[in-house]
């Protein structure tokens, strides 16, 4: 049984500036290490956090140039799940209209980008995106210990 009490909650606010995604990934690492997640899984969380941050940096056009993150450790007694939320107050987008990138196409396409969300979904256990035009974007991603 997975308890869903929030055992620990840490919030981090970052400026949308080069390399700040690395700071976010270190905080994620600290929380995952606290939970005694395995090093390989910690590394996957780290990469997902980097992708979510650079998406906000690059695409959100948030006027305050800030990313708001929360790191929550959930569980029933013992830590079981790490839930990370990455929020911006930018222009938003329609996640359901996103096209799944395909390498065979990207190889000849001029635009080789479009992998961030795909990578996040592949590395985390679950990902939810809440975004709307003008209403900003919140990506909530979780990984079990």
């Amino acid at each position: 049984m997975t308890g869903n009490a929030v055992l620990r909650e840490v919030t981090l606010t970052l400026p949308m500036l080069p390399d700040m995604e690395v700071a976010a990934s270190k905080t994620a690492t600290a929380m995952a290490e606290y939970m005694q997640m395995t090093p390989d899984r910690i590394d996957e969380v780290r990469m997902a956090v980097i992708e979510a941050c650079i998406n906000a940096f690059e695409h959100s056009h948030a006027p305050d140039r800030k990313v708001y993150m929360t790191f929550e450790v959930l569980g029933g007694g013992e830590p079981e799940l790490l839930r990370i939320s990455v929020r911006d107050t930018g222009i938003g987008f329609a996640p359901e209209e996103r096209e799944k990138p395909q390498m065979v196409k990207k190889l000849t396409d001029k635009n080789k980008r479009g992998w961030g969300l795909e990578i996040i979904e592949g590395l985390m256990d679950s990902v939810e995106i809440d975004s709307s035009a003008g209403g900003g974007t919140t990506v909530v991603m979780s990984k079990r210990r």
Partner: protein, 118 residues
């Protein structure tokens, strides 16, 4: 700031090994591409990217690596990767990149697998 990617090259006849150390973000990816295109211009068709010194990458950096793969397919060359962290290997798998560039556990196996000219 944050230390930028260091790239070193081991040039051999017809092929080369490119070693990276640090974060492969957009600048890091561009630095690798610069070096790779130079090696291609020098006539090399087989390149091995040894990422042993790289513990983090981002998708912007990887998209620049995809450009190098495209170029390699064009010139009928080969780009191999070796010594990836498990997360970078998994990311390449997620992207389907491993179908277009060979991934090897280490340099020895890469050199055997890429068949560079002796």
């Amino acid at each position: 700031m944050t230390e930028s990617l260091r790239v070193t090259v081991d040039r051999q006849d017809g092929f080369a090994i490119v070693y990276t150390e640090g974060y492969i973000n957009n600048q890091g990816g561009e630095e690798i591409a610069r070096v790779a295109y130079q090696l291609i211009d020098e006539g090399r068709k087989i390149l091995l990217l040894n990422l042993n010194g790289t513990k983090i990458v981002n998708s912007i950096g990887i998209s620049i690596l995809i450009e190098i793969i495209e170029k390699m397919i064009e010139i009928d060359g080969k780009l191999g990767f070796c010594s990836l962290t498990p997360t970078i290997a998994k990311t390449f798998e997620i992207m389907g990149l491993s179908q277009y560039a060979q991934i090897f556990p280490d340099e020895t196996q890469a050199l055997a697998g890429l068949h560079p000219p002796a």
